[in-house]
Symmetry: C2
Subunit: 465 residues, 2 copies
């Protein structure tokens, strides 16, 4: 593989036609959350199905639903004409966020408009633009001959409403969806001039703590000094969950946590990140956290514990002298590779009651969990992505992780068992989910080139590597 290949691809790119087609897709208001757009959802799915059929894919629209509720269709397409070569499953979604607040859009959300080199439209970056870059990437390769790998497309219509039918669909079609690697482009690169591969996501354990004091609300004058106060107790419990160094005190919590390698720490230290700018962007004077780790390390590779909500007693105006009967909090822990959400939840359920002061009863309810995900940096897929990005951007890729959990990624891992490559084309400044969402024309076209280059590079992998 040489640099000339990139030039070839770039020279072949029909930018005008790629934009015209994407604009057509962006004009369809496929808002999955809004039942008045059900027909638009079907139109967008049909558009993709027809396009993929025109590229020689076997393509269909699969109905979804469960529990008597019908969902939006999945577009599934495959072209398996590369025997002996890896199979790549490309995931994307054709549904978009609601456009509200409409009055804040400079130009209408479903009339794509180019200003200053950016496409302004709902769905431009999230995820129609990034998903369609793969469609056009495949088309680019087909204009030169057969695809270098077997390609499957799974384009869903419910990502913006929490993918309620995706896990069921994956389980039902697991055989058909089998792949060597799954490629997703539905997020943001680290910075404008940094081609990025995201190789890890944090997992999640989310619990609710309930503290019960007396059997009714009490007057703080008549009972203060003798009745247990569940809010004070809850605060003690929560304060006890971390030590002064910001380390979580739950016994066994860090067992098995994969430490960062010196290479990873060095790599991240070189990324264009500034603590000052990061703090300023959220308006805080400092970035507290676990001692001994940089901000990116804490965000991407260290587990955390945050209270997401708390309640108890009187929350209105003025002063009510009550000792409430109960209090509660939602507490979530971001987990990292080596931690299992179910085990962590169990540890929390065991430990929290031991922190409770005398007089109160404590219950810890498990609400939600998610597996952390990490792709081995030495995997051939990561190396292929690096080569593809280097060809397109003229510089090596940055390898970062992300602090959030992407539930569908964990679903893919769990139900299909294949590694997931997150190769994003967008940027944070695209403002997905906000008014005036946009996608840089250059990022769209680089996305097309990256998709084509990545499939070429993956074609050089041996199966089962």
């Amino acid at each position: 593989m040489t640099q000339s290949q990139t030039t070839d691809l770039s020279a072949l790119l029909d930018r005008q036609e790629a934009e015209r087609e994407l604009f057509e897709l962006l004009r369809i208001p496929s808002v999955s959350a809004d039942p008045t757009h059900t027909e638009d959802m079907a139109r967008a799915a049909a558009f993709l199905q027809r396009k993929l059929q025109s590229l020689g894919f076997t393509a269909r629209m699969d109905p979804t639903g469960h529990g008597g509720q019908s969902g939006h269709p999945v577009v599934y397409a495959e072209r398996l004409e590369a025997p002996g070569k890896p199979t790549v499953l490309i995931y994307g979604h054709y549904d978009v966020q609601p456009e509200a607040p409409l009055e804040e859009w400079v130009t209408p959300p479903f009339e794509p408009t180019v200003r200053d080199g950016r496409i302004y439209a709902r769905g431009s970056t999230d995820d129609k633009g990034q998903a369609y870059a793969h469609v056009r990437g495949v088309e680019l390769l087909l204009s030169q001959g057969e695809l270098p790998v077997n390609v499957k497309f799974l384009l869903e219509g419910e990502e913006e409403v929490g993918s309620p039918n995706l896990a069921g669909y994956l389980a039902e079609h697991a055989d058909e969806l089998r792949a060597d690697v799954i490629v997703i482009s539905d997020g943001s690169r680290f910075a404008p001039d940094v081609p990025t591969v995201t190789y890890g996501l944090r997992g999640l354990s989310y619990v609710e703590i309930h503290v019960q004091g007396a059997n009714r609300d009490l007057h703080s004058g008549s009972y203060g000094g003798a009745a247990p106060n569940p809010i004070n107790a809850l605060c003690e419990i929560i304060a006890g969950l971390k030590d002064d160094g910001g380390r979580i005190t739950i016994p066994g919590f860090y067992d098995g946590v994969e430490e960062l390698t010196p290479e990873e720490r060095e790599m991240w230290a070189k990324l264009p990140h500034s603590d000052e700018e990061f703090a300023a962007s959220i308006g805080v004077p400092a970035l507290p956290g676990e001692k001994g780790y940089s901000t990116l390390e804490r965000l991407w590779a260290r587990p955390t514990l945050d209270v997401n909500g708390i309640w108890g007693g009187y929350q209105g105006e003025g002063s009510k002298t009550v000792i409430p009967a109960k209090a509660g909090a939602k507490v979530s822990m971001r987990l990292v590779p080596g931690q299992d959400p179910e085990r962590i939840t169990r540890l929390v359920q065991e430990y929290v009651p031991t922190l409770a002061p005398e007089g109160v009863r404590v219950e810890v309810k498990a609400l939600h969990g998610g597996q952390p995900v990490k792709v081995d940096l030495d995997s051939p897929y990561i190396r292929a992505a690096d080569r593809a990005l280097t060809r397109v951007y003229g510089k090596p890729a940055a390898f970062g992780r992300t602090g959030g959990s992407i539930p569908i990624v964990a679903d893919f891992r769990r139900l299909l068992g294949a590694p997931v490559l997150l190769v994003d084309f967008g940027l944070n400044e695209d403002a997905p989910h906000s008014p005036n969402e946009s996608f840089a024309l250059e990022d769209y076209h680089n996305g097309i080139l990256t998709s084509a280059a990545l499939l070429q590079e993956l074609g050089h992998q041996e199966l089962g590597e």
Copy 2:
């Protein structure tokens, strides 16, 4: 003074007429909170004015109000026919709590009914029954001759709505209301067979703590580990306000606190109190608090710190992964003699920010304060009350305090400068403020006798003692 005096008073008591008159007053639905009862309020006030006039008092109804809002009238009456003798101001209130929930009343709230020796009616114990016992006590003495002291009645109609006009009324009429001692019967005795004098009340400092993290709510995946979490910070602050022994850590907080005397501790230890029953009555397995003090000592004579309300982040169903921008709590401290609410509030405002972890900003807002009150146990008024109760109940009085703050008591002290004697006739089981409020006939009649005996005993005091 001999036991025979009690017998005399008791023999003179016209129980039937005392009940008939009280029932007449109880039939007037004088609910101060409900504007549809404004006329009933005036009827109840007029009833008391007429009655006191019939006893030879100069009595009038004074309108109240401030800021353009008119209030319910104060009934003020005086009979100053005991030159050289002390002046006693008797406070009570003729307004009552709303009757809701009506369906839980066994008999209608404004049709007084006697069952098992108890008068069931709204206001029977709180405070019409207890206040009217003083009116009948005075009448009893008058049937024998002139009153042994100068007597002033101040009967307000807004106690159940927080006495919004009382402080203003006291300030305006301070000269006229001048008294050597103020007697209030508007609460509960310690136990059924325990005649009680309450000689102390706790004060209050009530603040609101606001903690600000980032300038907006953040996603806990993208920011968890680096962004300050104001709920975690608030919990750390609150947990830091007490040590493991339940002692409040605010520097200077205990400065000046009056320690209990060995006599007080011994006296309270003899009161019929059971920790087991107290804990069972509120459904808790233990009664946590400051180490080294009994439950009654902690409730009556030790300062406390309780969180009365807390809020922040997501309080709805399910799991929302937010790091909220802010959190807050209402925190109140019960204060004891020797502590000044303004000073304590200032100490809290100085100390709380020092407990804040890195990255958050903290503000402590003063909401409300109240002075602690204590009457010297050696005062002649206390001794007079003791003698009066001993005569009526045939056993010496118990001297206790109460953990709450009664704002009007502090107002009386502050604006009239006289000691306040709290001599209660009711019981907790009377269920004031609840459906089926009641007052034992025996307690009503003992109240009349106590009032008469107390005025006699106070007549033996020298002025200015």
